[in-house]
Subunit: 224 residues, 2 copies
Amino acid sequence: MTSSSSRAADGQSRRKMRTRAALLGAARALLAEGREGASIEEITKRAGVGFGSFFNHFPGGKEELFDEAVFEILDGYAAWIRSVTGDLDDPAEVFARSFRLTGRLVAAQPDLLAPLLARGSELLLLERGLREVAMEDLTRGVATGRFVALPAEVHLMSVGGVLLGLVQLLTSSGSLATDEVIDAISAGVLRLLGVAAGEAGELVTRGLPELPSALMTDGQVSYS
Amino acid sequence: MTSSSSRAADGQSRRKMRTRAALLGAARALLAEGREGASIEEITKRAGVGFGSFFNHFPGGKEELFDEAVFEILDGYAAWIRSVTGDLDDPAEVFARSFRLTGRLVAAQPDLLAPLLARGSELLLLERGLREVAMEDLTRGVATGRFVALPAEVHLMSVGGVLLGLVQLLTSSGSLATDEVIDAISAGVLRLLGVAAGEAGELVTRGLPELPSALMTDGQVSYS
């Protein structure tokens, strides 16, 4: 390629990435407003891109866009969780902090996660962000004898199932969406994993970092 | 009404009930064969009823029929669970037996429950059969101090979530669908509810009744 055609290709590729990012940004904003029913016309208008460009980027339609938007949110959230648990050695402590924070995320932003919930428990199989962070921690917890000796996959389905149940509880009965209830459930999950009751109760009283403020507004988390 | 017109109305009502029962029976058989994709034509043929009668009974179409078929299976199963735990006083023992049996049902008949799974965690809110049996037991367990003092609704979402996770595990990774894994998960759920680890481990080693053989073939359980 000549240098000028290469520059043209770079420009085209940058434009493509901008269009894609704009569509995902619009999707995140709509999700945060609980408006995943928005039309493609509204989405492209909000993103400031042409209607015709939509299917170039998301041939699967709105569902593909919203799914990808939520996956990216969760990937960003998972990277953040990794960064705020990096100082901890004990897998039980890592788990307690992660689960309690995730419960708070769900309570604060139920609409954000609605499209994923519609996928039901199949969600637990998706090899993205949060699942991998959880698998690493569960595997280490089993290897070190901190958690009950079962395949990490089995633990993942149990704790992921409780998380789904928690999400359902919070979306259906907002009055139970308190930090106290979330921490009580987290202690239960720690006991399920094999942590002694007294210790589980203590682990869920420790201080927590604040959720990233951007995540609490439009779901945008920068990868760290 | 004259006696003869009353007899005619009775006859019509009996015919209606027979048609409905035949459609539900065909749906159960198809579910057990993993064939929920069957056409309405095939369903009515199998049920031995006219194509036109389908929408009189299930105006919502196939989804309504299959949902109702699974609900009836679960209602029947719930009644059976109630009958085989009636001899137990301890809510933890009732829970252990119920959860272990339900795990075995799921492992033996994953296709039967597939249409419900597609509803995801929303399933946990359905006020039918199994949910009510579980709520009664959890409420009693909390009231007697056997389970952690939380609203029974909160416990239900946790244990129901683990059940969904277990279903997903079994349908996605059949090799983990062993009684041993199901019992290990059951012990975890007992600990989550507040039962001490040693006792939880012991509770899941006790003898279990056989699942009703009819349930294991075509999902038909007679109400008791």
